[in-house]
Every structure is written in C-alpha cells, then in structure tokens.
Amino acid sequence: MDELEENLIAEIARGNLSAFREIVECYQSSLLNYICRYTGDRAAAEDIAQEVFLRVFKNAKEYRPLSSFKTWLFKIATNLCLNELRDNKMQRNTLDIFELNEAGFVALAEKRQSPLRELENRELSFALKKAFKSLPENQRVALLLHKYSGFSYLDISQMMNCSISAVESLIHRARQSLRKQLTPHL
C-alpha cells in the first residue's frame, strides 16, 4: 500500500471526512462497477457501495495493512453483495448491466458486416448476460475481481480465502463456461 493511502486511512480512523472523501473519489467507480456486475442490480449497487464505504469509515481503526487497502475494500464489498443476494433483498435483474458499449458495437459490427448486426449485437449482449448469470457464485466473483477490478490471482486468493491454484481453476472454468455458451456468437 502506498504511503499516501496509508496516511488517508489513518486520517479516516481519526474521523477525518475530507480524507474519506478522497478515498471515495478514488474507488467509487471501480467499486460500483464491481457491485453492479456482481449483483446485476444497478439501483441497489449505489446503496451497497455507500454501505461499503460506511463500513470502511466505521472500521478504519481496525484496518491492518496485511493486504492492500483495495483488497480489503473489495472483500467488504464481496461479503456485502453475498449477504444481499442471500437475503434475497434484491431481484437479480441484469437488464442494463451487460449492455455492450458503443466501442463494442462498432468492433463487432466491423467484424460481422451483417445487415442484421444490430439484432445480433443485442442477441450477443443478451447471451453474455445470460451466460454470466449462470456462472456459479465463486466463479463469477473470481472472474469479476480479475477482469474488471484488476486483482492478481494472489489478491483474489486472499479475498476468497483459498489457494492461488483454486483461483486459477475458478477463472478458467468460468471462461470455459462462457466460451461454451457464447460459441455461436464468436
């Protein structure tokens, strides 16, 4: 963990709100995207993300830099998302989360050159959404943490309390599963 971040956490532990604001500004986007993709619920994601930051503020005194702050933050987020999903507090609605972005549409359109490409892209987006949703919980978490939050296998193993080879296996199985379901679209 870099020194600046370490100082910020120490300040948060003393109740400093401007230090807290800096941390929120720094991680809000990556955290929100992670929660969105995990839960598939955009509306609930902001609420969960706020709760994660609140827990950071509450527990800053207990934080020990054994792992990076980001790892700690995402571990809190993972636990909260898991609780939310298990408590069935939210409907797993992935309607908007897996829409392809503009660049994605263009790249795919260039690849395909089909008059029905718009429809195909929508189909692909839907298939991706469905495939992602069908992944087992731990595979989805491992894949999300690696793919979108940039964690190494080691970080993920610390977060998920498992070995590095288990993380490797989870990510590989997740990709294979996605590949099988998306093969007609590739």
Binding site: L17, Q28, L100, N101, G104, E168, R175, L182, L186
Partner: protein, 142 residues
C-alpha cells in the same frame, strides 16, 4: 506438463500472465505445435475481448455527497450515543437507584392502606353518597 488437457487447464493463467516464465515458455512451445490448443487459446481470448465490451457504469453525481451524508449521519448518531444518550442513561440509572433506595427505606409508610387517608380529604356531607361509600370501603358501620 505434457498433454493437451493439462495445457488447456493452464491457458487462462497463461493469458493472464500469472505463470512463472518456465511454464510460460513450455506452453508457448506447445501452442506452436498444437493447432487444437491454439484454437482453444483463441476462443478464450475472444471471450475475454467480449467481456471488455461490457460497458462501465458511471456513479451518479450524487454518489459522493450521499456517501458523505450517510457517514456524517452515522457520526452524529455515534456522537449522540456517546455524549448524550449514554451519560443520560447513567444519570437515569443513578436516579432510579436512589428512588428505589428511598422507597425501600420508607416501605412501612408506603404500605399503609391508601384508604386510611381518605378521611383527610373527606369534606362531603355525612349523609351524601360519597361519604357512605368511603365509610363502606373503610369498613365502618353506617
């Protein structure tokens, strides 16, 4: 690592640069010789590329103010709890203990039947219904 099955098991870690150099080189060598595993690698890379196309969510403009507000509310709540509620509860507990002690000390006086004092407030005419009622509950003969 010898056969294709083992190589394929490690392809994700290979793509993610999570393997030591020696293993990496071994897989690279295998991929040069094996079209089936190369095809598998291409598929995996395509899946990864497809996932890149999932759009990013942008936090709402109110996200930071709302988060700060939530934390401030919690801080206020903690302040009230620590500086007002807990001391107030301590004082209340002390007052309650004193009251209990006083009650215990004056138990005999308190145990006197309440209707014993009714006559002190009795300014009803002797024949009135209230006077008769008070006499009845005090067990006096009418």
């Amino acid at each position: 690592m010898k056969d294709c099955k083992e190589i394929r098991e490690r392809l994700s870690a290979f793509i993610d640069n999570e393997l030591p150099l020696s293993e990496r080189m071994l897989i690279e060598r295998h991929l040069h010789q094996c079209p089936a595993c190369t095809q598998e690698e291409i598929y995996l890379r395509q899946v990864i590329a497809l996932m890149d196309d999932i759009r990013d969510e942008i936090p709402s403009r109110l996200f930071i103010p709302a988060t700060i507000h939530r934390v401030s509310a919690w801080k206020r709540c903690e302040y009230v709890k620590g500086h007002i509620l807990m001391p107030a509860l301590t004082v209340l507990r002390s007052v309650f203990s004193v009251v209990l002690w006083l009650l215990e000390a004056n138990a005999d006086r308190i145990r006197t039947p309440f209707n014993a004092y009714l006559r002190s407030f009795d300014d009803f005419p002797p024949e009135s219904l209230s006077s008769v009622y008070i006499s009845l509950i005090q067990g006096e003969s009418i």
